[in-house]
């Protein structure tokens, strides 16, 4: 028997042990008579341990295992966008065409359509000096996204020939003087980060249109965020909101070990949603990876790597990419499951000891970078975490919190009160405001950071006052503190709560967010004045214009009207003094 193929020795769930081959770590092998795809994850004496990306029942010891010589890679090129893949980049649409609505096994499908012709327009000419990452031409991949075809990293030289026209993605469109042939498609191993020149400090916010996120706990382009929360607290809705409204040019959405119906929802919704930045369907900038909870667990383990490699590829073109992983806990569980089959010594709660280093490696692939071509590009990573029992002292949450710079803590109590997004404003944090403040001052308003500080300190004061109210009731508080409670209630109900399912309220621009926050502070100031002038608390709180101001956010054109509504409220509050 040649070195290239061996035999199955043992099968235990998704883990298969082979003898008679000596592959490299992380090499892809074909397992069994059906040639199921697997990846070598451990070498042990003359045994190779393989995780198999498909169901293994019915496979017997003695069936063949064949080396491919390649590591697990993704195909990168035009055609990635609008696709929905499983964890190992098989397009689910193609799988449906070949095996029907149920996913059976043993079917290969290329990540990209190798036959489809794309219009390639060269942007360099013969004799130009290029190197890895240089853009040599463009393809209009979707209405809104221009796909920049790059020289694969590691190559350089002078262009010997280049041709524009309609080609499929494997046709050579360009050759270098050393004979290197370049096509529109390149491949990249998923477990290796793609190279870049250097990382920058993030100083531009990733605008999401979600008030509590943007205003209180902002994420920077190239930053990392974790969203832990118990079930039913709105992780997925928040992730989907981010996928919809983030001002990234490319979105990669990984549904990792979650519900099938969720992906269906995204699939049916995104093509009809309009990107506020381009006016075109959101699907045009989106790639999805769906490895649902009942699909093979090894492919779930691979899915986050497949996703982030695609994200890095678009980053290298100079785009801002946002990647959502829902949920990293399911990824960690996949690691645990494989690890337990390998009979590795477990760390905390049965997770492998390398859990936190894997998490760190993954989040470290985020960042705003100078690309090989010299442009700016970024990958922002937002990972949902599903802590058992909602208790974030568990290993995945803790491993995540040690790395990410933004923590959006979802709260079951808020969800129960139907306060959405159910992000706890007291426990959440972001480490980016300092880096971003200059940007806000330059682009939104010079006092933006101060307004934010006032709003968050009001919420803090409210929390302290609430403790007293719990004991003695709110009537026992002095009137100025009662007003503070009213202002804080206004922050919560008018500003922090945001209805993801409402056409208008679902997205607020930074300018509107700032104006709304200012409006709350105006209410506070005017009310203080009025109360000092003899008005009662009930009077100022119940002025009809305040209700109009608050309800107005559900109506079209609110940004234009809010100034007028605010003026009316101030007038009415001032009026309460005269009545008394």
């Amino acid at each position: 028997m040649s070195e290239e193929s061996g035999l199955i020795y043992r099968i235990s769930g998704p883990v298969v042990t082979a003898v008679g081959i000596s592959p490299r770590m992380y090499e892809v092998v074909r397992v069994g008579d059906e040639g199921l795809m697997g990846e070598v994850i451990e070498l042990h004496g003359d045994q190779s341990v393989i995780q198999v990306y498909e169901e293994t029942s019915g496979i017997k010891p003695g069936e063949p295992v064949v080396r491919t010589g390649q590591t697990l890679s993704v195909k990168l090129g035009p055609g990635l966008l609008t696709q929905i893949y499983d964890g190992i980049q098989r397009p689910l649409e193609d799988l449906e065409a070949t095996m029907g609505v149920f996913i059976t096994r043993g079917v290969d499908a290329d990540g990209l359509d190798l036959l489809k012709k794309w219009e390639f327009n060269a942007t360099v000419s013969v004799g130009d000096e290029v190197s890895g990452g240089s853009v040599i031409g463009i393809v209009q991949e979707t209405e809104t996204v221009e796909h920049r075809v790059m020289v694969p990293p590691g190559n350089s030289g002078k262009i010997a020939s280049i041709e524009s026209g309609e080609f499929n993605i494997t046709t050579t469109v360009c050759t270098l003087d050393d004979g290197t042939e370049i096509a529109m498609m390149q491949e990249w191993p998923v477990r290796t980060p793609r190279p870049f020149v250097q990382k920058y400090a993030p100083d531009v916010p990733l605008v999401t249109g979600q008030r509590i996120l943007d205003f209180l706990f902002p994420l920077a382009k190239g930053g990392t965020a974790g969203i832990p929360g118990p079930f039913g607290s709105g992780k997925t809705v928040t992730q989907q909101q981010l996928a919809k409204w983030s001002d990234a040019q490319i979105v990669v959405y990984i549904g990792c070990g979650e519900r099938g119906n969720e992906m269906t929802e995204v699939l049916s919704e995104f093509p009809h949603l309009i990107d506020p930045n381009t006016g075109k369907p959101l699907m045009n900038r989106t790639t999805m990876i769906a490895n649902t909870s009942n699909m093979p667990v090894a492919a779930r383990e691979a899915s986050v790597y497949t996703g982030i490699t695609i994200a890095e590829y678009f980053r290298d073109m100079g785009y801002d990419v946002a990647l959502m992983a829902d949920s990293t806990s399911r990824w960690a569980e996949a690691m645990r499951e494989i690890s337990s089959r390998l009979e590795e010594m477990p760390g905390e709660e049965g997770y492998p000891a390398y859990l936190s280093s894997r998490l760190a490696e993954f989040y470290e692939r985020a960042g705003r970078v100078q690309t090989l071509a010299g442009d700016d590009g970024s990958v922002s990573v937002i990972g949902a975490v599903s802590p058992p029992g909602g208790d974030i002292s568990e290993p995945v949450s803790q491993g995540t919190l040690r790395i990410v710079k933004v923590f959006w803590g979802l709260d079951a109590g808020l969800a129960r009160q139907r306060h959405f997004p159910a992000i706890n404003w007291l426990s959440s944090y972001s480490l980016y405001p300092q880096a971003l403040d200059q940007w806000y001052r330059d682009n939104i308003a010079s006092d933006y950071p101060e307004v934010r500080t006032k709003i968050s300190s009001l919420l803090q004061v409210e929390a302290e006052l609430q403790e007293i109210v719990q004991l003695v009731g709110s009537d026992a508080l002095p009137i100025d503190q009662q007003l503070t409670l009213e202002v804080a209630r206004m922050i919560r109900e008018f500003f922090l709560q945001q209805n993801a399912f409402h056409d208008v309220d679902t997205f607020s621009s930074l300018n509107l967010q700032y104006t709304m926050a200012k409006a709350i502070l105006t209410f506070q100031e005017e009310s203080e004045k009025a109360i000092a002038g003899g008005a009662g608390l009930e009077d100022v709180v119940n002025v009809p214009a305040r209700t109009d101001l608050m309800r107005g956010r559900f109506e079209q054109g609110y940004s234009e009207r809010i100034g007028e509504l605010l003026g009316e409220m101030s007038k009415q509050i001032a009026g309460t003094m005269e009545e008394n």
Binding site: R10, I11, S12, E55, T56, S57, G58, K60, P61, G62, E63, I84, L92, E96, M99, G100, V101, F102, I103, F231, G232, G255, G257, R259, G260, N261, M263, T264, E265, L267, S268, A290, T292, S293, N294, M295, V297, R330, E333, R336, E337, S339, S340, E349, G350, S386, P388, G389, D391, R416, Q417, R418, Q470, V472, G473, S474, D475, A476, E493, R551
Partner: protein
């Protein structure tokens, strides 16, 4: 396929049998064991290698000895499926339990079931009216959803499940549901209760039952729900039925899973449950849904009892992450004598928004439901406050909310076991009439246009 019979058992441990010196045996293959007294047991291969094969025996390993003959059947576990399953009662391994003939198979279906391609799913969005206000208004069920009942010992979850099975219907269609009922480790008494009720209402003719009782082998419980779901898939996707799968009690299922894990000396996850329990549960729950190009659907109602009423216990916790919401039964409400004692606050239907509103239930449904929640949540919170400071310390708004929470429990939640409320007149109009107990200026979750249209006293028409 007839294979060799091996007598090479080396170890027997709990439900597991270890063999050596076999010819290559496939992973997941079905195994037949012939005991020395001639009786037969069934099992499945859990781990296979050239040197050693591990078999999990469904009926337990009592009386298995080293002389026991072991035969590998060369196939994975299959259930004979046909339309004839409807109206039948089978045991936990798929054999007739009602004294009737064997099922004549139209097809032999692999019970593990393949994952539905997410691309091929269709979004569930058809409202199912259960006639129970708490569910219809606040945790609306839609066709193709998996919505578990989180209960605890001593609570009337079975009554609620049966009431749903009896009353569930689509408002704008005559399609009836076929019920697939799956019992895992429940007592004979509970089982009789289910069967009698289904008989009494004539629903039994429209149901297929898979029954593993408390004194049946624990390991068999691991296949019982797979049989039930395989039957459900066949009926839904080959014969266009709308299937309602009720399974009880998931807690017993998970206990069996833990038992196998322990016998295999696996590294345990939380509270001794195996680390793959999430994936394992997902392989059951995810078999709900609607797929493109098929008329039928599978809606699941798993029932689980939370050990120690603890919703953070791994069983409800992992379930809650997979299922599309949960209906939580409250001991407190039960003790107040309220049936159905559904605590709407921690209950949730993730697919609700897709199934309600104009053309489905009624345009004001979302607003009304949000308002009920908000008012009831605040009212309940105030109960705690009143216990400390007394009602005198409350302002007008708080007093109204406090009173509303009692009214909500006694008039909205409470209904009789055979009361089938329609969504419009029965549930939403009732909600509006109860909301009149709160001054409209405090009803901030209600759009003005719905107040103008539906509020019994403020209506403008």
């Amino acid at each position: 396929m007839s294979g060799k019979e091996y007598r090479t058992i080396t170890d027997v441990k709990g439900p597991l049998v270890f063999l050596e010196k076999t010819e290559p045996v496939a992973f997941g293959e079905i195994v037949q064991l012939r005991l020395s007294d001639g009786s037969m047991k069934n099992g499945q291969v859990l781990d296979t290698s050239d040197d050693r094969v591990i078999v999990q025996v469904f009926e337990g390993t009592a009386s298995v000895d080293k002389q026991t003959g072991v035969k590998f059947l060369g196939d994975v576990f299959r259930l004979p499926v046909s339309k004839g399953l409807i109206g039948r009662i089978l045991d936990g391994a798929g054999k007739p339990r009602d004294g009737g003939p064997e099922i004549v198979a139209e097809e032999m279906a692999d019970i593990i079931g393949a994952a539905i391609n997410p691309y091929s799913r269709e979004s569930p969005e058809q409202f199912i009216q259960t006639g129970i206000s708490a569910i219809d208004a606040c945790t609306t069920l839609v066709r193709g959803q998996k919505l578990p009942i989180f209960s605890a010992s001593g609570l009337p979850h079975n009554d609620i499940a049966l009431q749903i099975a009896r009353q569930a219907k689509l408002v704008d269609s005559d399609d009836d549901f076929v019920v697939v009922f799956c019992a895992m480790g429940i007592t004979a008494e509970e089982y009789n209760f289910f069967v009698h009720d289904l008989e009494r209402t004539g629903a039994l003719e429209n149901a297929a039952l898979f029954v593993n009782l408390a004194d049946d082998p624990a390991v068999e419980r691991l296949i019982t729900p797979r049989l039930a779901l395989t039957a459900a898939e066949y009926l839904a996707f080959e014969h266009d039925y709308h299937v309602l799968v009720i399974y009880t009690d998931m807690t017993n299922y998970c206990e069996s899973l833990r038992q196998i894990g322990a016998a295999r000396e696996e590294v345990p996850g939380r509270r001794g449950y195996p680390g793959y329990m999430y994936t394992d549960l997902a392989m059951l729950y995810e078999r709900a849904g609607i797929v493109k190009g098929k008329k039928g659907s599978i809606t699941q109602f798993p029932i689980l009892t939370m050990p120690g009423d603890d919703i953070t216990h791994p069983i409800p916790d992992l379930s809650g992450y997979i299922t599309e919401g949960q209906i939580v039964i409250s001991r407190e409400l039960h003790q107040k004598g309220i049936y159905p004692p559904i605590n709407v606050l921690p209950s949730l239907s993730r697919l609700m928004n897709a199934g309600i509103g104009e053309g489905k239930t009624r345009e004001d449904h979302k607003s009304v439901s949000d308002q009920l929640y908000a008012a009831y949540a605040q009212g309940r919170e105030l109960r705690g406050l009143v216990a400390i400071v007394g009602e005198d310390a409350l302002n007008e708004r708080d007093l109204q909310l406090l009173k509303f929470s009692d009214i909500f429990e006694n008039q909205f939640l409470r209904q009789s076991r055979d009361e089938d409320r329609s969504i419009t007149e029965g549930t939403l109009d009732l909600a509006w009439s109860l909301l009149t107990n709160i001054d409209t200026k405090y009803l901030v979750r209600l759009d003005q246009k719905w107040i103008d249209k539906y509020h019994p006293t403020e209506r403008k028409s």
